[in-house]
């Protein structure tokens, strides 16, 4: 059996993302797989309607995000990227700000 690296090289794949659905069987399994893939590649499905915008960060912040992502990857056994950590922090911070605003009114 070829390793993940060998498969990636043979397919010239730029990225490899482990999916939560490991052994999908039958039509429902394939739908489940398609939903998981659409979260990885929104162009291949309808599951992810997130807004994507490039934002500028300084190197130190990015390095810290990468460290957090690495720790999350180890603890959750799922690959977590620095971008995902950044998105989670921003979403939580903005949600908290909105809640604060509502309680002050």
């Amino acid at each position: 059996m070829l390793s993940e690296k060998q498969i990636q090289q043979a397919l010239h794949a730029g990225r490899v993302v482990p999916l939560a659905v490991v052994k999908p069987h039958g039509p429902l399994g394939l739908e489940q797989l398609a939903a998981a893939v659409s979260r990885v590649n929104p162009a291949l499905g309808s599951g992810d309607l997130a807004v994507r915008r490039p934002i500028a960060l300084d190197h130190t912040t990015w390095e810290k995000l990468e460290q957090l992502a690495s720790t999350a990857t180890q603890t959750t056994s799922q690959r977590v990227t620095a971008s995902q950590v950044a998105a989670a922090i921003i979403e939580q911070f903005v949600a908290a700000l909105l809640q604060q605003g509502e309680t002050q009114e």
């Binding site: 070829l2 052994k23 394939l30 398609a34 990885v40």
Partner: protein, 134 residues
């Protein structure tokens, strides 16, 4: 008492290799700009390639979908990808076979103007963005 599990290959007297690895390819319906592509042609190309390399493949049409492309002003693009899958014997999943598969997928990515071609092998998504021009 008989072994309850047995060997299905022996029981059915099958001499063909057993495919156990699920390989899935998503054939898109539109290009990066939302223009329809000749999906039927590409499904046929992928089926032919998988059939030749791994002895068989099935195309599974899915329900309709929609996605918003924020790189293009948040336009809603309707996407109806077709899933083509094959159960591959481990022995058949060779570098040569994957290189041959890459040729077809690279051609689809280039000619059908795709941002990324997605392949799932044994629970892992491989995103292909590097296409060769033939």
């Amino acid at each position: 008492m008989d072994d309850p599990l047995g060997n299905p290959q022996e029981i059915f007297q099958s001499h063909l290799p057993v495919g156990a690895l699920l390989l899935v390819i998503f054939v898109p319906s539109r290009d990066q700009d939302g223009q329809p592509i000749d999906q039927e042609y590409w499904v046929d190309e992928v089926l032919t390639t998988l059939g030749t390399l791994f002895r068989g493949a099935t195309a599974y049409p899915r329900g309709r979908g929609v996605w918003r492309d924020d790189a293009r002003g948040g336009t809603l693009l309707r996407e109806e990808p077709i899933i083509v899958f094959s159960y591959v014997a481990e022995a058949d999943l060779t570098t040569n076979a994957l290189t041959e598969l890459y040729r077809t997928l690279s051609r689809m990515g280039h000619e059908a103007n795709q941002g990324e071609i997605g392949v799932v092998i044994d629970g892992k998504y491989y995103g292909i963005t590097e296409y060769i021009e033939e």
